[in-house]
Symmetry: C2
Subunit: 322 residues, 2 copies
Protein backbone atom coordinates (compact mmCIF):
# COMPACT_ATOMS: atom_id res chain seq x y z
CA UNK A 1 0.00 0.00 0.00
CA UNK A 2 1.36 3.36 -1.02
CA UNK A 3 1.44 6.05 1.65
CA UNK A 4 0.70 9.59 0.56
CA UNK A 5 2.87 12.20 2.24
CA UNK A 6 1.44 15.64 2.79
CA UNK A 7 3.41 18.56 4.02
CA UNK A 8 2.05 18.74 7.52
CA UNK A 9 2.17 20.54 10.82
CA UNK A 10 2.17 18.92 14.25
CA UNK A 11 1.03 20.99 17.20
CA UNK A 12 0.89 20.19 20.90
CA UNK A 13 -1.12 22.37 23.23
CA UNK A 14 -4.28 22.89 25.18
CA UNK A 15 -7.79 22.29 23.86
CA UNK A 16 -10.06 23.82 26.45
CA UNK A 17 -13.07 25.81 27.55
CA UNK A 18 -12.80 29.54 28.13
CA UNK A 19 -15.25 32.01 29.61
CA UNK A 20 -14.32 35.52 28.60
CA UNK A 21 -15.46 38.95 29.69
CA UNK A 22 -14.42 42.06 27.78
CA UNK A 23 -15.74 45.64 27.79
CA UNK A 24 -17.82 44.54 24.78
CA UNK A 25 -19.61 41.59 26.33
CA UNK A 26 -19.16 38.20 27.94
CA UNK A 27 -19.38 34.57 26.90
CA UNK A 28 -20.44 31.34 28.59
CA UNK A 29 -18.02 28.44 28.22
CA UNK A 30 -16.72 28.53 24.66
CA UNK A 31 -14.09 26.38 23.00
CA UNK A 32 -10.56 27.75 23.27
CA UNK A 33 -7.04 26.59 24.07
CA UNK A 34 -3.75 27.23 22.28
CA UNK A 35 -3.93 24.19 19.98
CA UNK A 36 -7.48 25.09 18.95
CA UNK A 37 -6.49 28.60 17.82
CA UNK A 38 -3.30 27.28 16.23
CA UNK A 39 -5.18 24.64 14.24
CA UNK A 40 -7.94 26.97 13.05
CA UNK A 41 -5.39 29.53 11.91
CA UNK A 42 -2.91 27.11 10.31
CA UNK A 43 -5.68 25.25 8.48
CA UNK A 44 -6.01 28.13 6.01
CA UNK A 45 -2.46 27.31 4.85
CA UNK A 46 -1.50 23.72 5.75
CA UNK A 47 -3.08 20.69 4.07
CA UNK A 48 -2.89 18.70 7.31
CA UNK A 49 -2.55 19.68 10.95
CA UNK A 50 -1.98 17.01 13.59
CA UNK A 51 -2.97 17.84 17.17
CA UNK A 52 -1.70 16.24 20.37
CA UNK A 53 -3.74 17.34 23.36
CA UNK A 54 -6.04 16.18 26.16
CA UNK A 55 -9.73 16.88 26.91
CA UNK A 56 -12.48 15.51 29.15
CA UNK A 57 -15.64 13.85 27.89
CA UNK A 58 -17.50 17.08 28.69
CA UNK A 59 -15.95 18.67 25.61
CA UNK A 60 -18.03 20.08 22.76
CA UNK A 61 -17.46 17.34 20.17
CA UNK A 62 -19.38 19.25 17.47
CA UNK A 63 -16.74 21.95 17.66
CA UNK A 64 -14.04 19.33 17.16
CA UNK A 65 -15.87 18.00 14.07
CA UNK A 66 -16.01 21.51 12.65
CA UNK A 67 -12.28 21.99 13.30
CA UNK A 68 -11.44 18.65 11.61
CA UNK A 69 -13.04 19.57 8.25
CA UNK A 70 -12.94 15.81 7.64
CA UNK A 71 -14.87 15.69 4.40
CA UNK A 72 -13.12 18.83 3.12
CA UNK A 73 -16.42 20.68 2.84
CA UNK A 74 -14.67 23.96 3.67
CA UNK A 75 -12.52 24.39 0.57
CA UNK A 76 -10.56 27.25 2.14
CA UNK A 77 -9.11 25.00 4.83
CA UNK A 78 -6.93 21.93 5.18
CA UNK A 79 -7.80 19.05 7.46
CA UNK A 80 -7.12 18.69 11.15
CA UNK A 81 -6.33 15.25 12.55
CA UNK A 82 -7.53 15.06 16.15
CA UNK A 83 -6.70 11.40 16.85
CA UNK A 84 -3.84 12.63 19.02
CA UNK A 85 -6.31 14.32 21.39
CA UNK A 86 -6.66 12.04 24.41
CA UNK A 87 -10.27 12.01 25.66
CA UNK A 88 -10.40 11.20 29.38
CA UNK A 89 -13.64 9.42 30.33
CA UNK A 90 -15.51 10.94 33.25
CA UNK A 91 -13.09 13.86 33.46
CA UNK A 92 -13.47 17.55 32.80
CA UNK A 93 -11.64 19.63 30.20
CA UNK A 94 -9.24 22.41 31.15
CA UNK A 95 -11.21 25.58 31.92
CA UNK A 96 -9.98 29.16 32.06
CA UNK A 97 -11.99 32.27 32.78
CA UNK A 98 -10.72 35.82 32.51
CA UNK A 99 -11.79 39.42 32.38
CA UNK A 100 -10.09 42.04 30.22
CA UNK A 101 -9.60 45.61 31.37
CA UNK A 102 -10.69 48.57 29.28
CA UNK A 103 -7.31 48.88 27.55
CA UNK A 104 -7.41 45.18 26.49
CA UNK A 105 -3.70 44.89 27.26
CA UNK A 106 -4.20 43.51 30.74
CA UNK A 107 -6.58 40.94 32.15
CA UNK A 108 -7.48 39.27 35.42
CA UNK A 109 -7.68 35.50 35.57
CA UNK A 110 -10.91 34.62 37.38
CA UNK A 111 -10.76 30.81 37.28
CA UNK A 112 -8.11 28.26 36.26
CA UNK A 113 -9.42 24.67 36.56
CA UNK A 114 -6.58 22.51 35.24
CA UNK A 115 -8.73 19.32 35.34
CA UNK A 116 -7.39 16.86 32.69
CA UNK A 117 -4.35 19.05 32.12
CA UNK A 118 -3.03 17.79 35.49
CA UNK A 119 -2.50 14.35 33.97
CA UNK A 120 -1.55 15.36 30.41
CA UNK A 121 0.98 12.87 29.05
CA UNK A 122 1.45 13.77 25.39
CA UNK A 123 1.83 10.75 23.10
CA UNK A 124 2.70 11.38 19.46
CA UNK A 125 0.79 8.85 17.29
CA UNK A 126 2.83 6.96 14.67
CA UNK A 127 0.91 8.66 11.88
CA UNK A 128 2.14 12.03 13.14
CA UNK A 129 5.84 11.08 13.03
CA UNK A 130 6.46 12.45 9.56
CA UNK A 131 5.19 15.98 10.31
CA UNK A 132 7.42 18.62 8.75
CA UNK A 133 6.95 21.39 11.27
CA UNK A 134 6.43 21.01 15.01
CA UNK A 135 4.72 23.86 16.83
CA UNK A 136 4.90 23.46 20.60
CA UNK A 137 2.08 25.49 22.15
CA UNK A 138 2.47 27.01 25.60
CA UNK A 139 2.48 24.06 28.04
CA UNK A 140 4.84 22.76 30.75
CA UNK A 141 8.32 22.70 29.14
CA UNK A 142 8.82 19.17 30.54
CA UNK A 143 6.00 18.06 28.22
CA UNK A 144 7.40 20.06 25.31
CA UNK A 145 10.70 18.18 25.79
CA UNK A 146 8.84 14.87 26.03
CA UNK A 147 7.20 15.51 22.67
CA UNK A 148 10.49 16.38 20.98
CA UNK A 149 12.10 13.25 22.43
CA UNK A 150 9.36 11.05 20.94
CA UNK A 151 10.05 12.11 17.37
CA UNK A 152 12.10 9.54 15.44
CA UNK A 153 13.46 12.16 13.06
CA UNK A 154 13.83 15.84 13.69
CA UNK A 155 11.17 17.99 11.98
CA UNK A 156 12.44 20.55 9.47
CA UNK A 157 11.49 23.27 11.93
CA UNK A 158 10.57 23.32 15.61
CA UNK A 159 8.74 26.38 16.88
CA UNK A 160 8.06 26.85 20.59
CA UNK A 161 5.76 29.18 22.47
CA UNK A 162 5.98 29.67 26.22
CA UNK A 163 5.12 32.20 28.93
CA UNK A 164 6.41 33.88 32.09
CA UNK A 165 4.66 31.29 34.32
CA UNK A 166 7.22 28.62 33.32
CA UNK A 167 10.08 31.07 33.87
CA UNK A 168 8.84 31.39 37.45
CA UNK A 169 8.36 27.70 38.28
CA UNK A 170 10.20 25.50 35.73
CA UNK A 171 13.35 27.41 34.78
CA UNK A 172 15.69 24.46 34.15
CA UNK A 173 13.27 22.53 31.95
CA UNK A 174 12.39 25.71 30.12
CA UNK A 175 16.04 26.46 29.33
CA UNK A 176 16.49 22.86 28.14
CA UNK A 177 13.40 23.04 25.90
CA UNK A 178 14.52 26.39 24.46
CA UNK A 179 17.93 24.89 23.63
CA UNK A 180 16.23 22.25 21.46
CA UNK A 181 14.11 24.48 19.19
CA UNK A 182 14.65 26.60 16.07
CA UNK A 183 12.18 29.41 16.70
CA UNK A 184 11.07 30.78 20.07
CA UNK A 185 8.02 33.05 20.36
CA UNK A 186 7.52 35.10 23.52
CA UNK A 187 6.22 38.54 24.39
CA UNK A 188 8.35 41.58 25.26
CA UNK A 189 7.99 41.27 29.05
CA UNK A 190 8.91 37.58 28.82
CA UNK A 191 11.96 38.33 26.66
CA UNK A 192 13.11 40.75 29.35
CA UNK A 193 12.47 38.24 32.13
CA UNK A 194 14.22 35.41 30.28
CA UNK A 195 17.31 37.46 29.40
CA UNK A 196 17.40 39.81 32.39
CA UNK A 197 17.97 42.63 29.88
CA UNK A 198 15.65 45.60 29.44
CA UNK A 199 16.72 46.45 25.88
CA UNK A 200 14.95 44.06 23.51
CA UNK A 201 17.98 44.13 21.20
CA UNK A 202 20.25 42.98 24.02
CA UNK A 203 17.61 40.50 25.19
CA UNK A 204 17.41 38.99 21.71
CA UNK A 205 21.19 38.61 21.47
CA UNK A 206 21.24 36.68 24.75
CA UNK A 207 18.27 34.49 23.88
CA UNK A 208 19.69 33.60 20.46
CA UNK A 209 22.72 32.24 22.34
CA UNK A 210 20.44 29.87 24.30
CA UNK A 211 19.78 27.76 21.21
CA UNK A 212 17.08 29.11 18.89
CA UNK A 213 18.21 30.44 15.51
CA UNK A 214 15.16 32.72 15.34
CA UNK A 215 13.40 34.72 18.04
CA UNK A 216 9.99 36.32 17.64
CA UNK A 217 9.11 38.94 20.25
CA UNK A 218 5.37 39.64 20.25
CA UNK A 219 4.34 43.13 21.36
CA UNK A 220 0.55 42.77 21.03
CA UNK A 221 -0.99 45.92 19.56
CA UNK A 222 2.56 47.18 18.93
CA UNK A 223 3.46 44.40 16.48
CA UNK A 224 6.19 41.78 16.47
CA UNK A 225 9.96 41.63 16.02
CA UNK A 226 11.86 38.79 14.34
CA UNK A 227 15.55 38.42 15.26
CA UNK A 228 18.02 36.17 13.41
CA UNK A 229 21.82 36.53 13.59
CA UNK A 230 22.30 40.29 13.30
CA UNK A 231 19.08 40.83 11.35
CA UNK A 232 15.90 42.35 12.72
CA UNK A 233 12.51 42.52 11.05
CA UNK A 234 9.56 44.42 12.43
CA UNK A 235 5.91 43.79 11.57
CA UNK A 236 3.26 46.15 12.96
CA UNK A 237 -0.11 45.07 14.24
CA UNK A 238 -2.93 46.45 12.12
CA UNK A 239 -4.55 49.46 13.84
CA UNK A 240 -8.13 48.28 14.40
CA UNK A 241 -11.25 50.26 15.24
CA UNK A 242 -12.12 47.74 17.94
CA UNK A 243 -10.27 44.88 19.56
CA UNK A 244 -13.23 42.80 20.61
CA UNK A 245 -11.50 39.87 22.33
CA UNK A 246 -7.70 39.38 22.35
CA UNK A 247 -7.89 35.79 23.62
CA UNK A 248 -5.92 33.45 21.38
CA UNK A 249 -4.33 36.17 19.25
CA UNK A 250 -0.80 34.95 20.02
CA UNK A 251 -1.69 31.33 19.21
CA UNK A 252 -3.48 32.41 16.04
CA UNK A 253 -0.35 34.33 15.06
CA UNK A 254 1.84 31.26 15.65
CA UNK A 255 -0.58 29.03 13.73
CA UNK A 256 -0.63 31.35 10.73
CA UNK A 257 3.15 31.76 10.89
CA UNK A 258 3.79 27.98 10.88
CA UNK A 259 0.99 27.23 8.43
CA UNK A 260 2.42 29.70 5.93
CA UNK A 261 5.95 28.23 6.30
CA UNK A 262 4.50 24.74 5.86
CA UNK A 263 2.53 25.71 2.75
CA UNK A 264 5.44 27.54 1.10
CA UNK A 265 8.08 24.94 2.12
CA UNK A 266 10.67 27.63 2.75
CA UNK A 267 12.16 28.40 6.16
CA UNK A 268 14.56 31.17 5.07
CA UNK A 269 14.67 34.50 6.95
CA UNK A 270 12.99 36.25 4.01
CA UNK A 271 10.12 33.79 4.01
CA UNK A 272 9.80 34.05 7.79
CA UNK A 273 9.20 37.79 7.29
CA UNK A 274 6.29 36.92 5.02
CA UNK A 275 5.08 34.30 7.50
CA UNK A 276 5.03 36.94 10.24
CA UNK A 277 2.86 39.20 8.09
CA UNK A 278 0.45 36.30 7.42
CA UNK A 279 0.46 35.36 11.10
CA UNK A 280 -0.24 38.99 12.03
CA UNK A 281 -3.09 39.10 9.51
CA UNK A 282 -4.66 35.98 11.06
CA UNK A 283 -4.29 37.48 14.56
CA UNK A 284 -6.00 40.66 13.36
CA UNK A 285 -9.04 38.57 12.38
CA UNK A 286 -9.00 36.61 15.64
CA UNK A 287 -9.52 39.67 17.84
CA UNK A 288 -12.54 40.90 15.86
CA UNK A 289 -14.97 38.45 17.51
CA UNK A 290 -15.17 36.25 20.61
CA UNK A 291 -13.07 33.09 20.69
CA UNK A 292 -12.48 31.32 17.38
CA UNK A 293 -15.69 32.66 15.82
CA UNK A 294 -14.03 34.94 13.26
CA UNK A 295 -11.47 32.26 12.35
CA UNK A 296 -14.28 29.95 11.22
CA UNK A 297 -15.60 32.16 8.46
CA UNK A 298 -12.56 33.31 6.48
CA UNK A 299 -11.80 32.94 2.79
CA UNK A 300 -8.43 33.12 1.09
CA UNK A 301 -9.58 36.37 -0.45
CA UNK A 302 -10.22 37.82 3.02
CA UNK A 303 -6.71 36.84 4.08
CA UNK A 304 -5.03 38.26 0.97
CA UNK A 305 -6.99 41.49 1.39
CA UNK A 306 -5.86 41.75 5.00
CA UNK A 307 -2.23 41.13 4.00
CA UNK A 308 -2.63 43.93 1.43
CA UNK A 309 -3.74 46.17 4.32
CA UNK A 310 -0.43 45.39 6.04
CA UNK A 311 1.49 46.23 2.88
CA UNK A 312 -0.37 49.53 2.56
CA UNK A 313 0.27 50.29 6.23
CA UNK A 314 4.05 50.06 6.11
CA UNK A 315 5.17 50.61 2.54
CA UNK A 316 7.07 53.74 1.62
CA UNK A 317 9.37 54.58 -1.18
CA UNK A 318 12.78 56.10 -0.42
CA UNK A 319 15.78 56.17 -2.72
CA UNK A 320 18.96 56.25 -0.66
CA UNK A 321 21.74 58.36 -2.17
CA UNK A 322 25.04 56.47 -1.94
CA UNK B 1 18.51 95.35 -3.93
CA UNK B 2 17.46 91.85 -4.82
CA UNK B 3 16.18 89.64 -2.01
CA UNK B 4 17.09 85.97 -2.13
CA UNK B 5 14.30 83.64 -1.04
CA UNK B 6 15.22 80.38 0.59
CA UNK B 7 12.80 77.64 1.38
CA UNK B 8 12.61 78.01 5.13
CA UNK B 9 11.13 76.73 8.32
CA UNK B 10 9.79 78.84 11.17
CA UNK B 11 9.57 77.27 14.60
CA UNK B 12 8.26 78.62 17.88
CA UNK B 13 9.05 76.86 21.13
CA UNK B 14 11.18 76.73 24.23
CA UNK B 15 14.94 77.22 24.36
CA UNK B 16 15.90 76.17 27.83
CA UNK B 17 18.16 74.46 30.33
CA UNK B 18 17.55 70.83 31.31
CA UNK B 19 19.10 68.69 34.01
CA UNK B 20 18.54 65.04 33.24
CA UNK B 21 19.02 61.84 35.18
CA UNK B 22 18.75 58.45 33.51
CA UNK B 23 19.84 54.96 34.58
CA UNK B 24 22.99 55.66 32.54
CA UNK B 25 24.08 58.88 34.21
CA UNK B 26 23.14 62.45 34.99
CA UNK B 27 23.88 65.89 33.62
CA UNK B 28 24.27 69.33 35.10
CA UNK B 29 22.33 72.09 33.35
CA UNK B 30 22.56 71.45 29.62
CA UNK B 31 20.90 73.23 26.73
CA UNK B 32 17.50 71.82 25.76
CA UNK B 33 14.00 72.97 24.89
CA UNK B 34 11.71 72.00 22.04
CA UNK B 35 12.91 74.67 19.58
CA UNK B 36 16.53 73.71 20.23
CA UNK B 37 15.96 70.04 19.32
CA UNK B 38 13.73 71.03 16.41
CA UNK B 39 16.33 73.40 14.97
CA UNK B 40 19.27 71.00 15.36
CA UNK B 41 17.30 68.23 13.69
CA UNK B 42 15.76 70.31 10.89
CA UNK B 43 19.08 71.97 10.08
CA UNK B 44 20.29 68.76 8.41
CA UNK B 45 17.54 69.30 5.81
CA UNK B 46 16.42 72.94 5.70
CA UNK B 47 18.63 75.74 4.37
CA UNK B 48 17.23 78.19 6.91
CA UNK B 49 15.42 77.76 10.21
CA UNK B 50 13.93 80.76 11.97
CA UNK B 51 13.36 80.49 15.73
CA UNK B 52 10.96 82.51 17.86
CA UNK B 53 11.59 81.93 21.57
CA UNK B 54 12.60 83.54 24.84
CA UNK B 55 15.64 83.08 27.11
CA UNK B 56 17.29 84.85 30.03
CA UNK B 57 20.74 86.40 29.94
CA UNK B 58 22.00 83.37 31.87
CA UNK B 59 21.78 81.29 28.69
CA UNK B 60 24.80 79.55 27.17
CA UNK B 61 25.41 81.85 24.20
CA UNK B 62 28.19 79.63 22.82
CA UNK B 63 25.60 76.90 22.33
CA UNK B 64 23.44 79.34 20.39
CA UNK B 65 26.40 80.24 18.17
CA UNK B 66 26.97 76.56 17.45
CA UNK B 67 23.29 76.09 16.62
CA UNK B 68 23.31 79.11 14.25
CA UNK B 69 26.10 77.79 12.01
CA UNK B 70 26.36 81.39 10.87
CA UNK B 71 29.45 81.09 8.68
CA UNK B 72 28.27 77.75 7.28
CA UNK B 73 31.34 75.98 8.63
CA UNK B 74 29.30 72.81 9.16
CA UNK B 75 28.56 71.82 5.56
CA UNK B 76 26.03 69.20 6.63
CA UNK B 77 23.71 71.78 8.12
CA UNK B 78 21.68 74.79 7.10
CA UNK B 79 21.66 78.01 9.09
CA UNK B 80 19.55 78.90 12.09
CA UNK B 81 18.37 82.47 12.53
CA UNK B 82 18.03 83.23 16.25
CA UNK B 83 17.13 86.91 15.99
CA UNK B 84 13.57 85.94 16.99
CA UNK B 85 14.83 84.69 20.37
CA UNK B 86 14.00 87.40 22.89
CA UNK B 87 16.79 87.72 25.49
CA UNK B 88 15.43 89.09 28.76
CA UNK B 89 18.05 91.08 30.65
CA UNK B 90 18.55 90.06 34.26
CA UNK B 91 16.15 87.14 33.92
CA UNK B 92 16.65 83.40 34.02
CA UNK B 93 15.98 80.91 31.25
CA UNK B 94 13.31 78.23 31.53
CA UNK B 95 14.69 75.27 33.50
CA UNK B 96 13.40 71.71 33.66
CA UNK B 97 14.83 68.81 35.58
CA UNK B 98 13.65 65.23 35.35
CA UNK B 99 14.58 61.68 36.21
CA UNK B 100 13.80 58.72 33.96
CA UNK B 101 12.76 55.35 35.33
CA UNK B 102 14.52 52.15 34.33
CA UNK B 103 12.10 51.50 31.45
CA UNK B 104 12.75 54.99 29.98
CA UNK B 105 9.05 55.28 29.14
CA UNK B 106 8.16 57.18 32.28
CA UNK B 107 9.86 59.99 34.12
CA UNK B 108 9.40 62.16 37.18
CA UNK B 109 9.66 65.91 36.83
CA UNK B 110 11.89 67.13 39.65
CA UNK B 111 11.94 70.88 38.93
CA UNK B 112 10.02 73.18 36.56
CA UNK B 113 11.21 76.78 36.83
CA UNK B 114 9.22 78.67 34.18
CA UNK B 115 11.25 81.88 34.66
CA UNK B 116 11.17 83.88 31.37
CA UNK B 117 8.54 81.53 29.95
CA UNK B 118 6.01 83.24 32.26
CA UNK B 119 6.27 86.40 30.17
CA UNK B 120 6.80 84.85 26.72
CA UNK B 121 5.13 87.03 24.13
CA UNK B 122 6.14 85.59 20.75
CA UNK B 123 6.80 88.22 18.10
CA UNK B 124 7.45 87.05 14.55
CA UNK B 125 10.16 89.29 13.01
CA UNK B 126 9.41 90.71 9.54
CA UNK B 127 12.24 88.68 8.04
CA UNK B 128 10.50 85.47 9.17
CA UNK B 129 7.20 86.30 7.42
CA UNK B 130 7.99 84.42 4.24
CA UNK B 131 8.74 81.07 5.97
CA UNK B 132 7.23 78.16 4.02
CA UNK B 133 6.54 75.81 6.92
CA UNK B 134 5.52 76.76 10.44
CA UNK B 135 6.26 74.25 13.21
CA UNK B 136 4.59 75.21 16.47
CA UNK B 137 6.47 73.52 19.32
CA UNK B 138 4.68 72.52 22.50
CA UNK B 139 3.78 75.78 24.26
CA UNK B 140 0.57 77.40 25.55
CA UNK B 141 -1.97 77.14 22.71
CA UNK B 142 -2.86 80.80 23.24
CA UNK B 143 0.69 81.63 22.12
CA UNK B 144 0.51 79.19 19.22
CA UNK B 145 -2.64 81.03 18.04
CA UNK B 146 -0.94 84.38 18.54
CA UNK B 147 1.91 83.31 16.24
CA UNK B 148 -0.47 82.12 13.52
CA UNK B 149 -2.41 85.36 13.72
CA UNK B 150 0.76 87.41 13.16
CA UNK B 151 1.54 85.80 9.81
CA UNK B 152 0.54 87.98 6.86
CA UNK B 153 0.15 85.02 4.53
CA UNK B 154 -0.55 81.45 5.51
CA UNK B 155 2.51 79.16 5.34
CA UNK B 156 2.27 76.21 2.95
CA UNK B 157 2.06 73.91 5.97
CA UNK B 158 1.41 74.44 9.66
CA UNK B 159 2.48 71.65 12.02
CA UNK B 160 1.60 71.76 15.69
CA UNK B 161 2.87 69.80 18.67
CA UNK B 162 1.13 69.87 22.04
CA UNK B 163 0.72 67.80 25.22
CA UNK B 164 -1.78 66.57 27.80
CA UNK B 165 -1.00 69.51 30.12
CA UNK B 166 -2.85 71.92 27.79
CA UNK B 167 -5.76 69.51 27.51
CA UNK B 168 -6.08 69.76 31.28
CA UNK B 169 -5.85 73.55 31.67
CA UNK B 170 -6.42 75.28 28.30
CA UNK B 171 -9.01 73.16 26.45
CA UNK B 172 -10.78 75.92 24.51
CA UNK B 173 -7.62 77.56 23.20
CA UNK B 174 -6.18 74.16 22.39
CA UNK B 175 -9.21 73.21 20.31
CA UNK B 176 -9.03 76.57 18.52
CA UNK B 177 -5.32 76.15 17.77
CA UNK B 178 -5.87 72.59 16.51
CA UNK B 179 -8.60 73.84 14.17
CA UNK B 180 -6.09 76.18 12.49
CA UNK B 181 -3.30 73.71 11.64
CA UNK B 182 -2.61 71.14 8.91
CA UNK B 183 -0.70 68.53 10.90
CA UNK B 184 -1.08 67.72 14.60
CA UNK B 185 1.52 65.60 16.43
CA UNK B 186 0.64 64.06 19.80
CA UNK B 187 1.36 60.81 21.62
CA UNK B 188 -1.04 57.88 22.00
CA UNK B 189 -2.22 58.76 25.52
CA UNK B 190 -2.85 62.34 24.39
CA UNK B 191 -4.80 61.18 21.32
CA UNK B 192 -7.02 59.16 23.65
CA UNK B 193 -7.48 62.09 26.03
CA UNK B 194 -8.22 64.56 23.24
CA UNK B 195 -10.76 62.30 21.50
CA UNK B 196 -12.15 60.42 24.50
CA UNK B 197 -11.72 57.23 22.43
CA UNK B 198 -9.53 54.30 23.42
CA UNK B 199 -9.10 52.90 19.91
CA UNK B 200 -6.44 54.97 18.11
CA UNK B 201 -8.29 54.45 14.82
CA UNK B 202 -11.46 55.95 16.28
CA UNK B 203 -9.43 58.65 18.03
CA UNK B 204 -7.80 59.63 14.74
CA UNK B 205 -11.15 59.87 12.95
CA UNK B 206 -12.46 62.26 15.59
CA UNK B 207 -9.32 64.38 15.69
CA UNK B 208 -9.22 64.71 11.89
CA UNK B 209 -12.70 66.24 12.17
CA UNK B 210 -11.32 68.94 14.49
CA UNK B 211 -9.40 70.60 11.65
CA UNK B 212 -6.04 69.00 10.85
CA UNK B 213 -5.76 67.15 7.54
CA UNK B 214 -2.98 64.98 8.96
CA UNK B 215 -2.51 63.46 12.41
CA UNK B 216 0.71 61.91 13.67
CA UNK B 217 0.37 59.74 16.76
CA UNK B 218 3.78 59.15 18.37
CA UNK B 219 4.17 55.91 20.31
CA UNK B 220 7.77 56.33 21.50
CA UNK B 221 9.66 53.04 21.26
CA UNK B 222 6.63 51.60 19.45
CA UNK B 223 6.90 53.95 16.46
CA UNK B 224 4.48 56.44 14.96
CA UNK B 225 1.21 56.41 13.00
CA UNK B 226 0.24 58.91 10.30
CA UNK B 227 -3.48 59.30 9.58
CA UNK B 228 -4.92 61.18 6.58
CA UNK B 229 -8.48 60.74 5.27
CA UNK B 230 -8.93 56.96 5.37
CA UNK B 231 -5.21 56.23 4.99
CA UNK B 232 -2.91 55.02 7.74
CA UNK B 233 0.86 54.72 7.63
CA UNK B 234 2.94 53.13 10.35
CA UNK B 235 6.66 53.74 10.96
CA UNK B 236 8.43 51.70 13.64
CA UNK B 237 11.04 53.05 15.98
CA UNK B 238 14.42 51.46 15.41
CA UNK B 239 15.12 48.79 18.06
CA UNK B 240 18.21 50.16 19.83
CA UNK B 241 20.66 48.43 22.15
CA UNK B 242 20.45 51.33 24.55
CA UNK B 243 18.20 54.34 24.83
CA UNK B 244 20.55 56.63 26.67
CA UNK B 245 18.34 59.73 27.09
CA UNK B 246 14.88 60.10 25.50
CA UNK B 247 14.68 63.85 26.21
CA UNK B 248 13.85 65.78 23.04
CA UNK B 249 13.16 62.72 20.87
CA UNK B 250 9.66 63.93 19.96
CA UNK B 251 10.92 67.42 19.05
CA UNK B 252 13.81 65.94 17.08
CA UNK B 253 11.27 63.80 15.21
CA UNK B 254 9.14 66.86 14.42
CA UNK B 255 12.19 68.85 13.32
CA UNK B 256 13.37 66.10 10.98
CA UNK B 257 9.83 65.63 9.65
CA UNK B 258 9.37 69.32 8.83
CA UNK B 259 12.95 69.79 7.64
CA UNK B 260 12.56 66.94 5.16
CA UNK B 261 9.25 68.36 3.88
CA UNK B 262 10.85 71.77 3.53
CA UNK B 263 13.87 70.41 1.66
CA UNK B 264 11.80 68.27 -0.73
CA UNK B 265 9.07 70.92 -1.26
CA UNK B 266 6.37 68.25 -1.33
CA UNK B 267 3.60 67.96 1.26
CA UNK B 268 1.76 64.98 -0.27
CA UNK B 269 0.79 61.96 1.86
CA UNK B 270 3.47 59.85 0.14
CA UNK B 271 6.17 62.37 0.93
CA UNK B 272 4.93 62.68 4.51
CA UNK B 273 5.56 58.94 4.86
CA UNK B 274 9.18 59.55 3.85
CA UNK B 275 9.36 62.55 6.19
CA UNK B 276 8.21 60.35 9.08
CA UNK B 277 10.99 57.86 8.35
CA UNK B 278 13.56 60.69 8.28
CA UNK B 279 12.08 62.16 11.47
CA UNK B 280 12.26 58.75 13.14
CA UNK B 281 15.86 58.36 12.01
CA UNK B 282 16.77 61.71 13.58
CA UNK B 283 14.98 60.75 16.82
CA UNK B 284 16.92 57.46 16.91
CA UNK B 285 20.17 59.47 16.93
CA UNK B 286 18.88 61.89 19.57
CA UNK B 287 18.38 59.21 22.21
CA UNK B 288 21.91 57.80 21.83
CA UNK B 289 23.54 60.53 23.92
CA UNK B 290 22.52 63.16 26.48
CA UNK B 291 20.67 66.23 25.23
CA UNK B 292 21.52 67.49 21.74
CA UNK B 293 25.05 66.03 21.84
CA UNK B 294 24.50 63.35 19.19
CA UNK B 295 22.61 65.78 16.95
CA UNK B 296 25.69 67.99 16.71
CA UNK B 297 27.95 65.46 15.08
CA UNK B 298 25.94 63.92 12.24
CA UNK B 299 26.74 63.71 8.55
CA UNK B 300 24.33 63.18 5.67
CA UNK B 301 25.91 59.78 5.23
CA UNK B 302 25.04 58.87 8.84
CA UNK B 303 21.43 59.89 8.23
CA UNK B 304 21.11 57.99 4.95
CA UNK B 305 22.62 54.89 6.60
CA UNK B 306 20.13 55.15 9.45
CA UNK B 307 17.24 55.50 6.99
CA UNK B 308 18.54 52.38 5.25
CA UNK B 309 18.32 50.60 8.64
CA UNK B 310 14.62 51.53 8.74
CA UNK B 311 14.10 50.18 5.24
CA UNK B 312 15.84 46.92 6.18
CA UNK B 313 13.76 46.70 9.35
CA UNK B 314 10.35 46.79 7.68
CA UNK B 315 10.75 45.69 4.11
CA UNK B 316 9.28 42.40 2.97
CA UNK B 317 8.28 41.08 -0.36
CA UNK B 318 4.81 39.57 -0.80
CA UNK B 319 3.00 39.07 -4.09
CA UNK B 320 -0.74 39.20 -3.52
CA UNK B 321 -2.74 36.81 -5.69
CA UNK B 322 -5.79 38.62 -7.09
Amino acid sequence: MRKIFFMSLLTVGTVAFDAIETPFGKTDKIVGGAATYIAWSASYFSKLINIVSVIGDDFDMKELELLKNENGSNKNRGKVDTRGIDIKEGKKSFFWSGKYHMDMNSRDTLITDLNVLMEFNPIVPDDYQSSDILLLGNIDPALQIKVMEQLQSRPKLIVMDTMNFWMDIAWDNLIKAISMVDVLTINDAEARQLSKEHSLVKAAKKILKMGPKFLIIKKGEHGALLFHDNNVFFAPALPLEDVFDPTGAGDTFAGGFCGFLDKTRDISFDNMKRAIIYGSAMASFCVEKFGTERLKELSHKDIEQRVQDFIDLVQFDIEIED
